[in-house]
């Protein structure tokens, strides 16, 4: 299990403006990380019931878009799920609002339950290509990854360090499709946000550490 944090890049009160047609209603726009979007939407609903004269809009777009739109002023709050913020976010005030774990997941049919960090790196680098090398059946490993630019992928690569994703890894463009691909293919391995693990896939222990909410907070 690997940890990462959700960071909200904020442009504080100065950025909150009055909309022309809102009849005096204050409007706040949040944009960015799709991983944090569902939580932000829940928070926005709560906030709006308590503050009926404020209108909160939550948009997705990805971590890069979040930072970009907070910098440009298109959104008052940008959301990013990254281990460290990039250069562009220097001028923004950042607040950590949540922590998340990235879990390495395989099909429940897979016999492997534990991998070391080095083994995970070698699998995604393409040095380990068969499950028997890490204690599984004699079948080739299908590596499933996110697309370049994804917050989950860049966090994953930052945590593992020295990773050059192997050329023939399958690429899926969301946590949900990673889950479906891994659930359908008994030989595959992927990574996704801890909150999206369900009974169709199995999260494996990394260096004997299990992926649970307690461990992410610790």
């Amino acid at each position: 299990m690997f940890k990462r944090v959700f960071i909200l890049g904020m442009l504080l009160l100065a950025g909150i403006y009055m909309t022309g047609c809102g009849r005096g209603k204050t409007s706040i726009t949040l944009a960015g990380s799709t991983a944090f979007q569902p939580f932000a939407e829940k928070l926005a609903e709560q906030f709006m019931t308590k503050n009926p004269n404020v209108n909160v809009t939550v948009q997705g777009g990805g971590s890069a878009v979040g930072i970009q739109s907070a910098s440009s002023g298109a959104a008052q709050i940008g959301m990013a799920d990254l281990v460290t913020l990039p250069e562009e976010a220097k001028g923004l005030t950042s607040t950590v609002v949540a922590k998340d774990g990235i879990a390495i997941v395989v099909s429940p049919k897979n016999k492997v339950n534990n991998l070391t960090t080095d083994q995970v790196r070698d699998i995604f680098n393409g040095k380990i290509v068969n499950w028997k090398e890490v204690g599984g059946d004699d079948v080739p490993i299908t590596v499933v990854s996110r697309e370049a630019g994804s917050g989950t992928r860049s966090s994953f690569e930052q945590i593992l360090t020295n990773i050059t994703l192997k050329k023939d890894a399958l690429i899926q463009d969301s946590n949900g499709t990673i889950r479906e691909t891994v659930a359908n293919d008994a030989n595959s391995v992927g990574y996704l946000s801890h909150g999206l693990i369900n009974e169709k896939i199995k999260a494996i222990k990394i260096d004997d550490v299990e992926c649970t909410s307690e461990m992410i907070i610790a």
Partner: protein, 285 residues
């Protein structure tokens, strides 16, 4: 009461017609103005012929994607063209009018199925079949070819049928009168006369296959890779744009627009060839 006169109707229709053309022009202008500066800055050779695509380290070579698009499209043709042409010949030359009336609209219904549904069936049914019987990850070039081959069937069949039916009845009668069988007439006379229309149908099918995005993203696996076998995972030009657009900034974003430029040029060439072929058919009549 007359709201608009004859002249007014003409003007309104003209504006409507022009809006379609102007949107095409706007799209072309936008893609080229966003993508061309990148191609000049990065170098057309580097962009088109380099093998490495890694936006994080500033490598933007789309050669693997061009090859993947070519292979997926050719594969779709191998699956779709024979099926489509055979279907068109059967329906126009052999089938009774009642069967034609039932089957042709059914085939055209295939075109109305959203591509995401084809992709879903590919992921859920086709990929596991390929993985369990042939090996590899299942999400592969082969899966892409089969799904696209089915998706282009309506295009190939309906245009082929139209061009076969456009062959004058006298050609067939002449051939039959000389003692030729139906099959001899079909492949020696009718198909030859309808050839340019059939070619056009295949080229329009090509255009559809190369431009298809959603279904390909779902079934082809999307790794940036020149395929060594049909079981390898591939990423097409369209998939590259759709996958990375939401995250891309700066050079990366420009590179995706440049990918769009290449795609736009390829599709323009294909469509021009198709319209020339169709014009030839009309000229012969």
């Amino acid at each position: 009461m007359k709201l608009v006169g004859e002249k007014g109707v003409q003007r309104i229709l003209m504006i409507t017609a022009l809006s379609a053309i102007s949107s095409l022009l706007l799209i072309a202008l936008f893609i080229f103005s966003e993508g061309l500066p990148f191609i000049f800055k990065y170098g057309a050779g580097n962009f088109l012929l380099a093998n490495e695509w890694d936006p994080n380290t500033g490598h933007f070579g789309i050669f693997p994607m061009i090859m993947s698009s070519v292979w997926v499209t050719l594969g779709a043709m191998v699956v779709g063209a024979p099926l489509g042409i055979a279907g068109a010949i059967f329906l126009s030359e052999y089938a009774s009018p009642i069967i034609m009336k039932i089957v042709k609209p059914t085939i055209e219904l295939l075109a109305a199925i959203p591509s995401v549904v084809y992709g879903f069936i590919g992921v859920m049914v086709l990929a596991p079949v390929i993985r369990n019987n042939l090996g590899g990850p299942g999400l592969s070039l082969l899966a892409g070819c089969i799904i696209l081959g089915i998706m282009i069937l309506p295009t190939v069949i309906s245009i082929s049928i139209d061009s076969i039916l456009a062959v004058p009845r006298s050609y067939r009668e002449g051939s039959l009168a000389l003692g030729a069988t139906t099959w001899q007439t079909t492949h020696m006379v009718t198909i030859k006369a309808a050839r340019s229309g059939i070619v056009a149908s295949i080229i329009l099918g090509l255009g559809r296959a190369i431009g298809e995005t959603m279904a390909v993203i779902m079934v082809a696996g999307n790794s940036v890779n020149i395929p060594n076998s049909a079981l390898d995972s591939v990423r097409t030009l369209t998939a590259n744009i759709a996958l990375e657009m939401s995250y891309a900034t700066g050079m990366h974003r420009e590179a995706l627009f440049a990918t769009g430029v290449i795609l736009f040029i390829i599709i323009m060439i294909l469509n021009s060839i198709a319209s020339v072929a169709i014009r030839n058919r009309n000229a012969k009549k």
